[in-house]
Assembly symmetry: D2
Homo-oligomer: 214 residues x 4
């Protein structure tokens, strides 16, 4: 049986929940189509997030790692295409660090591509009526940080693990007093299950229309 | 036992489903807190919608009537405050009628207020983590038309029935290829159940902050 | 020569400028196509705004009155179709009054229609490449209040004056640290000039597509 | 005197104008703060855009090159931080080419950073009340393509030229029948003038808050 490690973040930025953790924790221990899902929480903190992630990888020895994070304001579940070598925080993280215009890995490459079949993951989610699309920016906060850190780790250790990142919208309870879109937790959980299984089952991606103008 | 009649519309405007009917049909026959919910479909057509609604009222003899319609692009479930005496259609309705700048009722009042406790309905939905807020425009298409027609009917027949209108967002399956927000069908069904029961149980509204700047 | 009175509001809600006053003051004293424009500021306050407006009408004896207000977040210049008999403030006004769910005029009609040719005004603005559309809600704050007060005054005094309200977007300087659209002050000034002259020149409106779904 | 080359694109995607060319052509030949601005149009076509750009660089021998493109739907003028080695077109370009998931430069680096002081450019524009912010994705259409091609050219030729890309919103005339934000052409021209001069005058950037969550 193949294993996929899903991570979700702690709440940050004044929110009392983080939908990424709320969603992935529901999938912990689930076996879907011969894929075992293991879920863990990681801190919303620049340095610590990567060191915790490395420990989790060594502990669980997954075939695929998918870090999941909140993208408040987005409409869709969005697998990310690319991680960039940049920390540029709008607010302090949960350990009060606020790096500005700093490389994540000194002399690291400017960017890493995901090694997940993101267009296939999007297609499978849409086949189940779940709003999904590819994103070309994971931002410059802890989400991009852990995504870059994950891909650097995989590359620099010549690991066979494949990895990537998925951003998810707010859940409804976070938008009661905000003018912002949401997707229900059930929809997000279903989408992540499909995405995780697809990521394990397929190493190559499909070639379909899914780019962005800007 | 009190009875509430919920109506949903046929699909229109190129959509294959109308979330208002998808949602209210799930509640048909349900008894919640000593309130019986009866659900019916009405045509998305200016003239016919009101005549069908009148027949349904005479058939079911409800205590409360709530018409429900799709507001594609809205973020929240939005009970409407006011219906205006105006048909002004951007597109033809499902019977190919496209009235422009016409009164719904000649010499009728410019507007009717809902007779439902809309702020209480919003409050109750939010207590269950459902995004909801009061709206001050039901537009000028068939949604506003049936809402005005309902309130005119109630007023002109001196009926004890109380009535109103609720707009709901798209459901996720409608937004797969749109940049638009949605709420899951489950969330909408739960919200409408709460709103319907609250509308029957309370004749008076609460006084809470819920206005709009524009 | 015909005369049109334009009013703009004081800043409110933490803004340092109000684009409605910034725009209308630039038109004060201008003569365009045989129409004299007179501009005045009114307070962003429920009670005072209408009493000040009445004094200005008696002082200037205009043929047409157009009150202008900020609609932060809107994309277009939006002549309003209808004023409703409701004060429902999200925040205190500039005199610390915050009416909630109160009638503007006790026993007044639920709503008044504008007496301006709003679709013609929209058409003329669009012919000059200015984003404009009809709106069907002026909200429930001071903008709707003065609009309703104006139409009540005209009606109850059997005046020949025609009146209405136009909402305008933010100007760019207000959006430097907001995720919100704006139109430049020059565009708004040009749009209001066109709208004001059109409002004076035409008593009847055109019949064109311009309704809203919700 | 230093020289900056600004490029704008041909219209595409059904638009009759491209605001990038409308804006940059107004700056052609202008001297601002001892900086000469030269403006040229480039085709909205994957392959051709870069070859035309190279010819223009060899012809004009600029100190700084800034390519400008339309980002319909954006609120701000957005200097781009990073170009990625990916063509992924949602629609065919103006030469009917629609590459999907193809590298721009085979074996090229995944990404290049801009060599312009983008935070300083944003700061200077905001000081003049122009809505501006840093962007971390230039998309995957011709805008990103020419940006990557520019940075690859500069790097592979060991040129001293500094280069980058700026996305701009629609202008108002494009949004008459769209629900989309715009900035006036005057505002965009003023913003690009400030950005161009700042880009020439400063080689190093400031360290200020300007990252994105996602």
């Amino acid at each position: 049986m193949k294993k996929v490690l899903l991570t979700g973040f702690e709440p940050f930025g004044g929110e009392s929940v983080n939908p990424s953790w709320e969603a992935v924790k529901q999938l912990n221990g689930e076996v879907a189509e011969d894929v075992l899902i293991v879920s863990e929480m990681v801190p919303t903190a620049f340095g610590t997030s990567i060191s915790v992630l490395k420990q989790l990888i060594q502990q669980h020895k997954p075939d695929v790692v998918i870090c999941v994070g909140q993208a408040g304001g987005r409409l869709h579940i969005t697998p990310e295409r690319v991680a960039i070598n940049l920390d540029d925080a709008r607010i302090p993280d949960n350990e009060e660090k606020q790096p500005i215009d700093e490389a994540i890995v000194r002399n690291g490459p400017a960017a890493y591509w995901t090694s997940l079949p993101i267009k296939r993951m999007v297609e499978k989610m849409k086949e189940s009526d779940i709003p999904a699309s590819v994103s070309h920016t994971a931002g410059t906060f802890v989400c991009n940080h852990i995504f870059y850190g994950l891909m650097y780790y995989i590359t620099s250790t010549s690991s066979d693990i494949r990895g990537g990142f998925i951003h998810i919208p707010y859940i409804p309870q976070q938008t009661l007093d905000k003018q912002a879109p949401s997707l229900s937790l059930e929809t997000i959980v279903q989408g992540l299950r499909i995405a995780a299984v697809t990521a394990v089952q397929y190493k190559s991606d499909i070639r379909s229309v899914g780019g962005t103008f800007h």
